[in-house]
Each structure stands twice: as structure tokens, then as C-alpha cells.
């Protein structure tokens, strides 16, 4: 999938920018700021692109040009092969702005219904989609509350829901996780993964790098209106000069041996040994999920974890449609044994296999047996982790299936 999205140039670019420039001018038409300065990039179908950069680097300006809200000063910009100002392409675009501008007096349901009307959706369809989206973003219980009363996170969720109302082929999310709690962030990321699986194109701008790292195939890093780096995340982030080994807690004698080997080969300050840590996000989600199981009451957003039915049509929930979608999108169908673990997990598993190899070579023959045993345990654990991840995903999809029934 990765290869198809990044390397395979067979798919037409959804977005193509050549020499894109945006100069803001003052009242007397004198150039004031060059927000975007001669940038070239392409976004291919089915790709999740991260647009990164500090504040004022030109991310939002680029996004607004993609949407036809600002006009380029120079260069050429096409979206679905047409000018961003073409009204027809907007049928396939979903947009979540940086700040969620909603009509405060409309209720959550009315808000979604209004935006659905702009797509000329028939009444029954609108109602169905709105209900499913509200359920998906965890605001079903607040459907009749005016959005003016919503917390920032809740408003953000409604904003996300309205961006999905037309089941867009290109979703543009400007700081999608800002204002969301870690749970919400996770859900947004899951949603992006889901959309990616369905062959949708997603452009995410953010300065929360962990968000981008989790979901994006490729990133563009902007600074001062220019592209400073771009490429596939795996290529950009792996440090070829270093290795990492993760094992279960080692008995002191084994650790001693390992250290001996390391000291024989490396200088003291070239390596270090410590306990790996969970990320805070993982820890937090763990705590909240436990609380959820214990059914603690909350008044905030409560996502059902159901992806809206019309959005999940054509993904695993419906294999025939999925295959059709794949054929249409020109993709190689994925193995159907289990939901594909995501790239990170795949990489982890590979890494672990490699670790085992290295351990063996490091701990010489006399320790080979013990090390092999450990490595085996290691492998078992890796497998367990993998199947755990699979279970999680299955859960997600299972829930979706339930929603579908």
C-alpha cells in the first residue's frame, strides 16, 4: 500500500502545485509578506500527507489556496486537475478549518443538516448521515444542543463531522487534533487510517508532530514559505547509523554479559541501557479505556467508536465493495486473513526479529542456548503484541460491523 501511494506514479495527482507562490500585499498593493514562496509538490490519490511547519510557515495559506479561499500570486495549482476555484471539485472535498466556525444558534444536528444541504443531499440521506456522523464523533447525546454551548473539543468534533458529510475523496484537515483530548486525537487518527484504507486522500496540517508521525505516509516540512524537507516518513526518520535492541528484563548475569560484549566493541559513551517507556498517550488511553470498561459517567463527548456506516462502506466491512473500490483505485488487494497491522507495528515486528539475530551473534556460543531461549520468548512476545494489535483493530472493525448491521 505504501509503495503504491508513494512510489507508484500510476495514479493521477489529486493536488499538483508548481512554483506556487503567495504574496500578501498592503492597501497600496506593496508586497507585505511572502507567505508561500515558489513551492512544488504533488499529492497522489490514497496518500496521507502531513504539512508540517511552525506557526507562520505557510501551511494554512497553502491549504486556503487549495480550497480557493486565497488565490496564488504565482505558479500553478490544480486540485483534481482543475483550478481550486472551480465549484465542481468541491463536491469531493472535505475541509476542517483551523478554527471551527459554526453557527452558534444551530444545534449539532441542524449544523450537519445544513452542510449536507449544501451538497444537495436528499432529506432521508441527510438525516441518516447526520445521525451516523454524530454517533461517530461521539455527540449523539448532544444532537439537540446548540453548538454555541459546546466545548472546544466538541466543536472540533462537529467540525470534523461536517468535513465528512459528503464522504470526500480529498479531506483537508487543518490542525485536526487541536483542542481534542488524547482520546479524541486517537479517534481522529483512527479515522484517518480508515479513510486511507478506503483509498481517500488526506492532507493534514499540524505542528503536533506525534499526530503526523502516527498517520502520515509522507510529510512536507515548510518553513518561511519554502519546503525544507519532504519525503516518506520511514525514509526521513530512520537513523541508519544507530541500532536499538529491546528485550524483556534481563537477568543480571545476562545483562553483565551483554554489557561486556558492548564494552569490548564500543566506547562507554556510545551506548546506553535503560527501561523502555510507554508514551504518555499510550498510558492515558490505557487508563481511560479501563475507566470506560468500568462505565464511569462523563458529560463530554462519548464516541461510540462506530465509524459512520456510509463512510465504512467499501472498507473491510463490505468485502465485495472493498474489492471493487480497490480495483477502481488500481490497488493490489490486501491479504484477507486479518486486518493489516499498521506500518509501525510491522516495522516493530521486523525490528524484533533483527534484534534476535544480533543478540545471538553478540552472546557467542556458550551463551547461545540461553540467548536463543530468550530470543524465542522475545519472538513470542512480539507475536503476542502483533496479535494484540490485530485484536484491537478487529475490535474496531467488529464494532463497525455491528454498526453496519
Amino acid at each position: 500500500m505504501e509503495e503504491a501511494a508513494v512510489g507508484g506514479d500510476v495514479r493521477p495527482p489529486v493536488v499538483s502545485a508548481v512554483g506556487l507562490t503567495k504574496v500578501f500585499r498592503d492597501f497600496w498593493n506593496r508586497p507585505k509578506a511572502k507567505a508561500v514562496n515558489d513551492i512544488d509538490f504533488e499529492v497522489r490519490e490514497g496518500e496521507v500527507l502531513g504539512l508540517l511547519g511552525p506557526n507562520g510557515s505557510g501551511k494554512s495559506t497553502t491549504v486556503k489556496m487549495l480550497l480557493g479561499l486565497l488565490y496564488p500570486t504565482g505558479g500553478r495549482l490544480t486540485v483534481f486537475g482543475k483550478s481550486p476555484r472551480d465549484v465542481s471539485i468541491k463536491r469531493s472535498i472535505g475541509y476542517l478549518p483551523e478554527e471551527t466556525y459554526l453557527y452558534k444558534y444551530l444545534t449539532a444536528f441542524e449544523t450537519l443538516d445544513f452542510f449536507a444541504s449544501l451538497f444537495n443531499l436528499p432529506s432521508a440521506d441527510r438525516k441518516k448521515r447526520c445521525e451516523q456522523l454524530l454517533d461517530m464523533v461521539g455527540l449523539a447525546h448532544a444532537r439537540n444542543r446548540p453548538v454555541g454551548e459546546f466545548s472546544k473539543g466538541m466543536a472540533r468534533r462537529i467540525g470534523l463531522a461536517q468535513a465528512m458529510i459528503n464522504d470526500p475523496a480529498l479531506l483537508i484537515l487543518d490542525e485536526p487534533t487541536s483542542g481534542l483530548d488524547p482520546l479524541g486525537c486517537r479517534e481522529v487518527k483512527d479515522l484517518i487510517q480508515m479513510l486511507k484504507k478506503r483509498g481517500k486522500t488526506v492532507i493534514v496540517t499540524s505542528h503536533l508532530l506525534s499526530d503526523v508521525e502516527d498517520v502520515c505516509d509522507r510529510v512536507i516540512i515548510l518553513y518561511g514559505g519554502k519546503i525544507r524537507a519532504q519525503g516518506a516518513l520511514t525514509d526521513l526518520l530512520s537513523i541508519e547509523r544507530k541500532d536499538r535492541i529491546t528485550t524483556p528484563a534481563l537477568p543480571p548475569d545476562v545483562m553483565k554479559k551483554v554489557l561486556t560484549v558492548l564494552r569490548e566493541n564500543l566506547k562507554d559513551d556510545e551506548f546506553h541501557v535503560d527501561h523502555p517507556r510507554m508514551t504518555l498517550e499510550e498510558f492515558f488511553l490505557d487508563v481511560v479505556n479501563k475507566a470506560k470498561v468500568e462505565q464511569v459517567e462523563t458529560f463530554g463527548a462519548r464516541s461510540s467508536g462506530h465509524i459512520a456506516e456510509y463512510l465504512s462502506e467499501g472498507s473491510e466491512g463490505n468485502k465485495a465493495d472493498g474489492a471493487l473500490l480497490d480495483r477502481l483505485a488500481g490497488r493490489v488487494p490486501e491479504p484477507e486473513t486479518a486486518p493489516e497491522p499498521d506500518e509501525r507495528e510491522k516495522a516493530e515486528a521486523k525490528e524484533k526479529a533483527a534484534e534476535q539475530q544480533r543478540l545471538r551473534s553478540l552472546s557467542k556460543d556458550r551463551e547461545a542456548e540461553a540467548a536463543a531461549q530468550k530470543a524465542e520468548a522475545e519472538l513470542r512476545e512480539a507475536r503476542a503484541k502483533l496479535s494484540d494489535a490485530n485484536d484491537k483493530l478487529k475490535d474496531l472493525l467488529g464494532a463497525r460491523k455491528k454498526g453496519g448491521e
Binding site: 479561499l69 466556525y101 459554526l102 444551530l106 449544501l118 443531499l121
Partner: protein
Amino acid sequence: MLPFLAIVRLTCRSAIRSNVFRTLLFLLALSVILIPNTIKGDGTASGFIQLILEYSLGFSGAILAISVAWVCCSEIASDVESGQIHLILVKPVPRPVVLLGKFTGVLVIHTALLVLASAVVYGFVMYQFMRQDFPAEERQRVENEVLTGRRLIPPDKPDFAALAEKELKHRLETARMDERAAIEQKIAGNNRRAVLDAIERELRFRNGEVEPGGVIFWTYSGISEKTPDPLFLRYKLYAGTDGSKNQETTYGAWLLRFVTRTDRGTDDKPDFTENIVSLPPEEIMTKTRDEFGIQDTILRMGGAPDEIRRNVPPQLMKDLTDRLVKNGTFMIGFRNYDRSGKKIILQEADGPYLMVRETGFLNNYIRAVFVLFLGILAVALVSSALAAYFTLPTSIFLAASYGLLCIFSVYLLGTIAEMDASSLSAGDKVARMLSEGVFFLLIPVRDFFLTSELATGQLIDFARIGRLIFYDILLRGVPLFLAGMLLYSIREVSLAMKR
């Protein structure tokens, strides 16, 4: 269509939530409910009903016009500034549809309010008229002069241009040698037109002057003899040439032309004898508009009983009309009996007008309300055009300035028109053209407030409504709106966003 309707609905909901709109709504309720219940009028039934009509409906129209300007500006401009428009413009809805939807939403809600307010005012007028204990004569007067729709017929005018030519010729012929040279010098070159215009103005003015003891006649054409209706004469006169505003009294008598069909004529070509009969001289208030019923006056003078006068039998009305109208023409005169020997002047603008009932009050009322609607439409068109491009404060400022200029444009244009073109320097001429150009863009809002016409039972005829639609809506309002729509379609909306 669905996106358009969704935007219309959203705009209506948003407008109702605006604080300014709510304040104006409160004022509207006051003008509809409070004014009719507190005003006293001049004590007469017709005065009372006229005041209700003029104030309640006039105020309602004015409040709605202000409100529509405000709400148009805020609905269109504030959405752009707050960024809410971003979420709409990235949807597959063309920008002109967005603007049109917002415009329509504002217009719909104001039209609904106008209909509601005018229905309440109408109901109240009728209720008061039915309920109050007016004397029978008063009641008759209200029915004849207020609750009706009468066409205004101006007197036939002499061909002033031809008369001016004749006068100039006459002056040249009768002038002494030296005077003639002066006149000839004056009319040399392009100035002949200006001299003729001056003479024409003089003639027009003199045309309405009645010397003490003198008499003046007016003829009115195009009066139907088939359906004899009561005829009314509306007039306003001035005594002397003093410019004071004080009213005073003078004396005069109206002269009626009575015609009798003779046996000499045929049905196709009737033959008449005419004679002029003077009504008794009466005391007349100057500088105030007044009117009287012609047939009714004859009956009164002739001592007809009140019951007959209140409800004139059709045959009697026909007989009277037959004696007054000849070949579709009616003639009336006025003799000056001023006690202090002053001239009496009847200005061309004041007629005097002959008024003939053409339609009922409800019909005329609906027309007046429709014209108010046109006024609100014009304001909405202009304000939307301004808000489509400018920020909220700027567009409201411009809309207010435009409104003020429109109100005063009548006076300013009058001043420009009165300037003697021949005496202007080149710079003045350029300035004059420029100001005329600017004024062409202005819609004279006063033209849409026809409540005083309505209150005096004057027909709001379709020709007038047609002129308003053509000159003010189609020729000015719509092009301005389209220009706004174009700017709205090409502007970079994100630039206008407030941070």
C-alpha cells in the same frame, strides 16, 4: 435549489437572533400598536384615520428599511469577517448563489414583517372606523376622501413652449428700437433657448395667478361619462406674494360650467349649450391643501337633504354628471374676492387636481404596501452590494451615507436643475455633470413612501409603480447588486477575515 433554500433559511434564523434586528422589531411593534392608540389627530374622523395611516404605515416602512439595510450588511459582511463563510464557500455552491441566498433570506423576513405590520395597520384602521362614533357627515367624508383610491387628473396645460415663442415674438414686435436691440443681443447665438426657458417659466407662473376680481378656468379631459362617479377637486392656494409661512384666509368663489344637450345634435355628435354658474363666495384657508366634492357641493347648495347627500341615488348622480361633463371634459373656474386686494396664486404643482374614484381602499392600500416593499427591496439590493465587498462597519457606514444622500438628493438635484447653465464656468459645468452622474446612482427613497397619497385617497396608479420598478429597481438597484455579486465572486475571502 436545496443549497439556496438552506442558505435562505439559515439567514432568516440568523437575522432573528441579531440584537439590532430585535430592537427594530420592538420599534416596529410600537409603531404598529402604540401610534394608532395614542394619537389624537385634529379631532375629525378623516384626520384621525389619515394620521394612523400615515404614521403607522410610514414608520413601519422606515423601520423596515433601516432594518433591512442593517441586517443585509451584517448577514453578508460579518460571515466573511468571522470566517464562517469559509465552511460554506468550500462546499459546491457557487458564490453568487450564496450571496443571493443571504439576500433573499433577509428580504423574505422583512417582507413577512411588512405584510404582518400592514395587515395589522389595515385591521386597526377599519376597526377604528367601524367602532368610533363619528358623525354621519364625517363618516361620509372619510369614505369619500380617505378610504378610497381616486385618480388624480391634472388640468389640461396650454402649450407653454409655443406660447413662449409667441410671447418672444410679441415682445420683439412691440419693443422700442433700443429695447429690441437689447433683446436681440440677448438671444444671439445659443442663448435663445435660455431666454425662451425663462419666458416659459414666467408664463407657467403667471398661468396660476388670479388678479383681484379676476377669474381663471381649468379644463380636465378624459373623464368617463359611462360610470358617473363623484368628482372631487383638490387645491391649494396662496394669497399675495409674501413668503411667510403663516396661514391666512381669503375669499373666492368656484365657477362651474353647466352643459345642456340640445336637440340639434345627434347621438354621435351631440350639441350643447353651456353656462357658467358661480357658487357662493366662501372663506378659504391659504397654504393648505383642501378638497371638495363637486356633485355634493351642488346638492348642498341646492338644499338636498342629508340622507340623499350621503347616499346619492345613481340616477341623480348621472343627471348631475351629465350636466357637468361634456365630451369627456370638465371645466371649473375660480374668481378672486380677496378682501385686501391681493393676488391669489394656484401653483402648477398643486393642480388643482380633479379626483375620480377608480378603485377601493383595500386595493389602493395593497398598492401602497407593495411600493413600500419595492423600497425595502431597493435598500436591500444596495446594502447587499456594499456588504458583498466591504467590512461590516464600512458597509453600514456606506449604506447609511447612501440612504442620507438619497433622502436629500431630491433637494440637491432640484438645486442643480435650477442652475442657469449659460452662466456656468467650465469647471462648474464639469462639477455639475459629475454630481448629476453621482445622483443618477441614487435611488430617491422618498418615492417609495406613498402613505400620504394613500391617506388622502389618492390612487397609486400602475404607471407610477411601473416607473419605480423600471428606474429605481431595474436601472439602479439591480445593476448595483450585480456589481456587488461580481466582487463577491472574485474576492479573496480569507483576506477579509478578522483575527
